[in-house]
C-alpha cells in the first residue's frame, strides 16, 4: 500500500450543521466542543463519526466518571477495565479466563430474535478477540409478565435467538437467570455473557502500534445494517422505535464461527499486532479506539472495504454495524500469512489502511478526503469524548416496617394441608421461581465436553480442557432490591453471585457488570445508578473481587416508565480440582443444615411479590464479613470432604431451596423425600429472632446456605461449624418417601414437582 503522505487536505465532504448534530443525538454544546477540538466546523462525515463515538453507548459519557472508580485490584488481573475488549484474570501459570457481559436490550425490544442473537455474537467476539476460546455463555433476561401475549412473544423469540446463535457457534450455555416484572414489558433486558480461556502468552491486545503496519479488515462484508445502532441504543424506546428496525443488525452464526476460528488461528500463530471486533459503531469505533489506545494514527481507504451494497457513503462505511467483522493490525510481512488463514476459512479480508504517526484518523474514499480528526478527540479513554456527572435526586423510596404475613404459620397451626400445599405451589410455580428447563433445553449445554454442572442450579461449572481446574460462572441481578435500596441492593447482588459460586465449592475470582438503568438525564434515575454502582464497587472491594469491565445500558424505559433499575453481575470462580465441585442435589441418607447468619426478611421477597404483588424496604441485612465466613466454611468442609452438596438461600427462601435440592435429585433419577426435623421451630434462629414461620420458610437472607451432609460425616461437620463459630441449625433429613414432612403432616412432593416443572413451561 502506498503511504499517502501528500494526500490533499481539502475535503470532498460538505460541512455538517448544528441541526444535523442534534438529529444525530448530540447536544448543542457537544457540537461546539467538536469545533473546539478540531479547530474548525466538522465535515458531515466527521460529525457522524463524533455522534457515534460520543453516543452514550460508545462514550459512556454519563457513567464513565463513576465507572473509573469501580474497584479493580487483583494479582490475577491481566487487562485493565475499559482498555481491552474484555476482562482477563490469570487462572494458573498457563491460562487466563477472559469474560465479559453486555446488553442488547433495545434491539431485542424491537426485533427479539435478531436482537438477542447478535447480542450473543457481539459478546463472543469481545472474548475471542482477546485470543480466548469461548467455553461457555450465560444470559440474564428480564421480561414483562408472561401472561401477556406480547411478553410471551418476546420471551420465546429472545430465547430462540440466543439458542440458534450459540448452538450454531458451538458454545455451551452454562446458565443465567430469568425474571419477570411488568416494568420490563416494553423494554425487556437481554444481557449476554461469555467466558473464554486463553493461554496467557497468547492474550491479544487492541492497542494499534507500529508505524507503517497494515490495517486489515476481515470477516463479513459491510452493508447498511445497524447504521446508528449506537445512537439508537442511546435513547428511550418509544412507539416510533419500531420503525427503526433497520438499526437492528442481522446475525450469521456460521460466519461468526469462521471468523472465530480464523482469528484464533492468526493469534495463535502470533501474526497479529492488535485486533478488535467491529461492534457498536463498527469500523469507526474499532479504528479510533485501536489507534487512540495505541497512541498512533490511522489512514483508512474506504473503497477497499468489502461492501455488500453499492453506493454506500463514507459515513455509512464507518458507522455500519454489520456483524461478524474484525479489524486487525498486521506487520506488512505477515499480511500474506494472515490472508492465507482467512482464505482457508473462506472469509473476505482486505488491506484497508495503514498505521501512521499523525495520531489522526483520516478517512479517504476514492482519493478524496472525508475526515481528518485527532484520534484522541473521538474516544472516551483519551478523554476526548465529554464526561458528565449528572444530577442525582433521591426519589421517595418505599421503606416501611417489616411486612408481615402469617398465612403459612396459620396453616401449620391449623394443620391445614390444603393451604400449605397451595401456598407452596403458588410460590414454586411462579414464573420467577419455576424450573428454567423450558429455556435451557433450547440451548446446547454440553458441547465442548467440559460440563461439570450445567444450567438450572446455582452456577455453571465447566472444566478446562487442559488441566484439573474448572471454572464456575453465574449471572445475578435483582431489580426488586435495587428499586428499594440501590446501594444495599447492589451489595446483595454481588453477595448473591458470590454465594452461587461458593456453593459449588469454587473460589470467586472476579466480576463483570452490565448496568441496566433508565434515562440518566432524569435525576431520580441517576440516583439509582450512582448508588448502585457505588454499592457494587464497595462490595467488590470488601470481597476483594476486581470488577474487570462490562457495559452500561441507559434509557431502559418506555412511555410506561422506567424498568426496575437492574445492574447485573457476571462472576467467575475457580475450582482447583474439578472433581471436587459441589452439586446442589439432595442425597439419600443425609441431613440438611442451615448455616450462616440467617436473618430472613419478607420485605422485598419473591414470596410477598408473588402473593401480594408488592415489595418494600428495608432490604434484608447484609454483612460481607459474614458472607465470607459462611463461604469459607463451605470451602473448608468441601476440602475435608464433609459435605455432599450445597445451595444458597435466595429468592423463595428456605422452602424453595429445600424443594430445589429434592427436585435436582429427581431430575437425576433419584426420588427422595424429606422430613423437617421435629424441633424445627426451636432452632437458634427462631429463639433468637422470634421468627414468624412465613418468614422462616420464605424470607430471603444473605450469608445463608443449605448444606447436605451424609449421616457418617455429620459429627465431623458439626465439629467444624463449632470450631469456626458459625451459626447453624439442623433442618431435616432425606428419606425414601414421596413426601415433604412438616409437623407430622405429609405434603405430596410429586404435586410440588409438577408445579415447579410446569410453572414456566406453559408459556413456551
Amino acid at each position: 500500500m502506498v503511504f499517502l503522505d501528500n494526500m490533499k487536505t481539502e475535503f470532498a465532504d460538505r460541512e455538517g450543521t448544528l441541526e444535523e448534530a442534534v438529529k444525530l443525538g448530540l447536544l448543542k454544546e457537544e457540537f461546539e466542543l467538536i469545533k473546539e477540538k478540531i479547530g474548525r466546523t466538522p465535515t458531515f462525515t466527521e460529525l457522524a463519526m463524533f455522534s457515534g463515538m460520543w453516543s452514550e453507548h460508545c462514550s459512556y459519557k454519563n457513567s464513565i466518571l463513576l465507572l473509573k472508580k469501580l474497584y479493580c485490584e487483583s494479582e490475577r488481573l491481566l487487562a485493565s477495565p475499559g482498555e481491552e475488549n474484555a476482562g482477563a484474570l490469570r487462572i494458573n501459570d498457563k491460562y487466563a479466563v477472559v469474560f465479559k457481559i453486555e446488553s442488547h436490550n433495545h434491539p431485542s425490544a424491537i426485533e427479539p430474535y435478531q436482537g438477542a442473537a447478535t447480542g450473543v455474537g457481539g459478546i463472543m467476539r469481545d472474548v475471542f478477540t482477546m485470543g480466548a476460546r469461548p467455553i461457555a455463555t450465560l444470559n440474564s433476561l428480564r421480561f414483562g409478565m408472561p401472561d401477556a401475549a406480547r411478553n410471551r412473544y418476546l420471551l420465546r423469540r429472545v430465547v430462540k435467538g440466543i439458542g440458534d446463535y450459540g448452538n450454531s457457534l458451538g458454545i455451551a450455555c452454562s446458565g443465567g437467570e430469568l425474571f419477570f416484572h411488568n416494568s420490563y414489558t416494553k423494554n425487556p433486558l437481554v444481557n449476554a455473557m461469555t467466558v473464554g480461556i486463553a493461554k496467557v502468552e497468547n492474550l491479544a491486545s487492541s492497542k494499534a502500534s507500529g508505524i507503517g503496519n497494515s490495517v486489515l479488515y476481515v470477516g463479513a462484508k459491510t452493508g447498511r445494517d445497524g447504521i446508528h445502532g449506537a445512537s439508537f441504543a442511546s435513547k428511550d424506546l418509544s412507539e416510533s422505535s419500531a420503525e427503526e428496525r433497520s438499526a437492528v443488525q442481522v446475525g450469521d452464526p456460521f460466519l461468526e464461527k469462521l471468523v472465530m476460528e480464523a482469528t484464533l488461528e492468526c493469534i495463535e500463530k502470533k501474526l497479529v499486532i492488535a485486533v478488535q471486533d467491529m461492534g457498536a459503531a463498527g469500523l469507526l469505533s474499532s479504528s479510533s479506539e485501536m489507534s487512540s489506545s495505541g497512541d498512533v494514527g490511522m489512514d483508512l481507504f474506504l473503497e477497499k472495504v468489502p461492501a455488500r451494497e453499492t453506493g454506500m457513503l463514507p459515513f455509512e462505511f464507518m458507522l455500519s454495524e454489520s456483524q461478524e467483522r474484525m479489524l486487525m493490525v498486521v506487520k506488512p510481512e505477515n499480511i500474506s500469512k494472515v490472508r492465507e488463514v482467512f482464505e482457508k476459512w473462506e472469509l473476505d479480508s482486505a488491506e484497508i489502511g495503514i498505521i501512521t504517526d499523525r495520531k489522526k484518523l483520516r478517512i479517504f474514499y476514492n482519493n478524496e478526503t472525508y475526515a481528518d480528526v485527532p484520534v484522541h478527540a473521538l474516544t472516551v479513554n483519551s478523554q476526548g469524548a465529554p464526561r458528565y456527572t449528572r444530577e442525582s435526586k433521591k426519589p421517595n423510596l418505599k421503606i416501611s416496617e417489616q411486612i408481615q404475613i402469617d398465612d403459612f404459620e396459620k396453616a401449620i397451626e391449623n394443620k391445614d394441608i390444603d393451604s400449605l400445599c397451595s401456598i407452596i405451589k403458588e410460590i414454586i410455580s411462579h414464573p420467577n421461581l419455576a424450573s428454567r428447563h423450558p429455556v435451557y433445553e433450547q440451548y446446547d449445554t454440553d458441547i465442548g465436553n467440559m460440563r461439570v454442572i450445567g444450567p438450572g442450579q446455582n452456577a455453571g461449572v465447566y472444566r478446562l480442557e487442559d488441566g484439573k481446574e474448572a471454572l464456575s460462572m453465574t449471572t445475578d441481578g435483582n431489580g426488586f432490591y435495587i428499586a428499594l435500596e440501590p446501594y444495599k441492593g447492589a451489595v446483595h447482588t454481588v453477595a448473591e453471585a458470590y454465594r452461587n459460586l461458593a456453593s459449588c465449592g469454587s473460589m470467586p475470582l472476579g466480576i463483570t457488570n452490565c448496568l441496566n438503568f433508565a434515562n440518566p438525564y432524569k435525576p431520580e434515575n441517576y440516583y439509582f445508578f450512582k448508588e448502585a454502582v457505588t454499592g457494587m464497587s464497595d462490595a467488590a472491594k470488601e470481597f476483594k473481587l476486581p470488577i474487570t469491565g462490562g457495559n452500561v445500558s441507559f434509557y431502559n424505559e418506555s412511555e410506561d416508565g422506567p424498568v426496575l433499575p437492574t445492574p447485573t453481575i457476571g462472576m467467575v470462580g475457580l475450582i482447583e480440582n474439578a472433581d471436587k465441585t459441589l452439586p446442589a442435589h439432595l442425597i439419600s441418607e443425609a441431613q440438611v443444615f442451615i448455616i450462616g447468619n440467617f436473618h430472613p426478611s419478607l420485605n422485598a421477597s419473591q414470596y410477598v411479590y408473588i402473593r401480594e404483588k408488592k415489595s418494600a424496604g428495608p432490604l434484608p441485612e447484609i454483612n460481607v464479613e459474614n458472607e465470607i465466613k459462611s463461604a469459607e466454611l463451605i470451602f473448608e468442609a468441601n476440602n475435608r470432604e464433609l459435605i455432599a452438596s450445597a445451595t444458597d438461600v435466595s429468592s423463595g427462601g428456605i422452602m424453595t431451596a429445600v424443594l430445589e435440592m429434592i427436585f435436582y435429585a429427581k431430575r437425576r433419577g433419584e426420588n427422595l423425600g424429606f422430613s423437617f426435623c421435629e424441633k424445627l421451630f426451636e432452632n437458634r434462629y427462631f429463639t433468637q429472632q422470634k421468627l414468624n414461620k412465613d418468614m422462616f420458610f420464605f424470607g430471603e437472607s444473605a450469608h445463608t446456605y443449605l448444606v447436605c451432609v451424609s449421616l457418617e460425616k455429620k459429627e465431623d461437620f458439626i465439629n467444624l461449624l463449632k470450631e469456626k463459630n458459625l451459626p447453624y441449625a439442623y433442618l431435616g433429613t432425606s428419606n425414601s418417601s414421596e413426601f415433604l414432612k412438616l409437623e407430622n403432616m405429609n405434603l405430596p412432593l410429586n404435586d410440588f414437582y409438577e408445579a415447579w416443572l410446569n410453572g414456566l413451561a406453559e408459556y413456551f
Binding site: D164, L169, Y440, D444
Partner: protein, 221 residues
C-alpha cells in the same frame, strides 16, 4: 487404531469426538478438511455434529457434496466403517449413504436434553433398560417413505429408538445402520456422555462409553 474425523466449516463437535477417541480409546485421530479428498488409510471415519456450512440450505446438503465426502464414499465402498453423529447423520443421509432424511423437529424448537433410548437391531440386548444419551438438535425428525421403513424394520437397521418421541421421528427412530452395519447414523451424542457431569442423571455417566465400547468391540472388531 486410526480414526479420520471429517471437518466442514461450521462443524463444532469435532474436538469433542477427538477428546474421547484420544483420551479414552488411545486412537490416533486426524481431522480431514472439506476441500481435500483424502487417502483411505484410516480404520474408521466419523462425521461429527455441528452446523456444516451453517446448514442454511438443508442440514448436511452442502457437506454431502464436498470433496472429502467423495473420499468417504470411496472408503465405505472398500468396507471401512463410518459413523455420523447429529449433523454427521444428516450429512450421511444427504449423501445417500443412509436412507431417509432428517427434518425440523415437530416442536420447531432446538431440543437439548437426555433422552431414553431402546437399543434395536444388532444393538439389542447390549444396552441397559435405562439407557439414554443426550440429544441437541433442531432437525432430528427422521423421515422416510413406507417402503424404506419396511426395509429398515425387516433388515433390522434401526439401532436406537426414542422411548418418548421428542421430535416427531418416524417410528421413534433415533439412529439407523446401513444394511451391512458398516455405516451408522444417529442423532444422540454418545461422545458427550463420556466425561461425567455432576448434574447428569446418576446412572448415565457410562452410557457414552458403552456405545463406543460396543461398536469398537462388537461391530467393528
Amino acid at each position: 487404531m486410526k480414526a479420520g474425523i471429517l471437518v466442514f466449516p461450521g462443524i463444532n463437535c469435532d474436538n469433542d469426538l477427538k477428546l474421547v477417541l484420544n483420551r479414552v480409546y488411545n486412537f490416533q485421530t486426524e481431522f480431514l478438511w472439506h476441500t481435500n479428498s483424502f487417502k483411505v488409510e484410516h480404520d474408521i471415519y466419523f462425521v461429527p455434529g455441528g452446523f456444516s456450512y451453517g446448514d442454511y440450505l438443508r442440514s448436511g446438503a452442502m457437506a454431502s457434496r464436498s470433496l472429502s465426502l467423495r473420499s468417504l464414499k470411496d472408503a465405505v465402498s472398500k468396507g471401512i466403517p463410518a459413523v455420523g453423529i447429529c449433523n454427521g447423520f444428516q450429512i450421511l443421509t444427504e449423501a445417500s449413504l443412509l436412507p431417509g432424511a432428517l427434518v425440523k423437529n415437530k416442536t420447531l424448537k432446538h431440543i437439548a436434553r437426555w433422552e431414553n433410548l431402546s437399543a434395536e437391531g444388532l444393538f439389542k440386548n447390549n444396552f441397559t433398560e435405562d439407557y439414554a444419551l443426550p440429544i441437541s438438535h433442531s432437525e432430528g425428525n427422521y423421515l422416510c417413505d413406507d417402503n424404506t421403513l419396511k426395509e429398515l424394520i425387516e433388515n433390522e437397521q434401526i439401532i436406537f429408538k426414542y422411548k418418548k418421541n421428542p421430535n416427531g421421528s418416524t417410528e421413534n427412530i433415533a439412529g439407523i445402520a446401513s444394511k451391512d452395519y458398516k455405516i451408522l447414523g444417529l442423532m444422540p451424542h454418545p461422545e458427550r456422555a463420556v466425561f461425567e457431569a455432576k448434574d447428569w442423571p446418576k446412572n448415565n455417566a457410562n452410557f457414552g462409553k458403552l456405545f463406543f465400547d460396543f461398536i469398537f468391540s462388537k461391530i467393528y472388531s
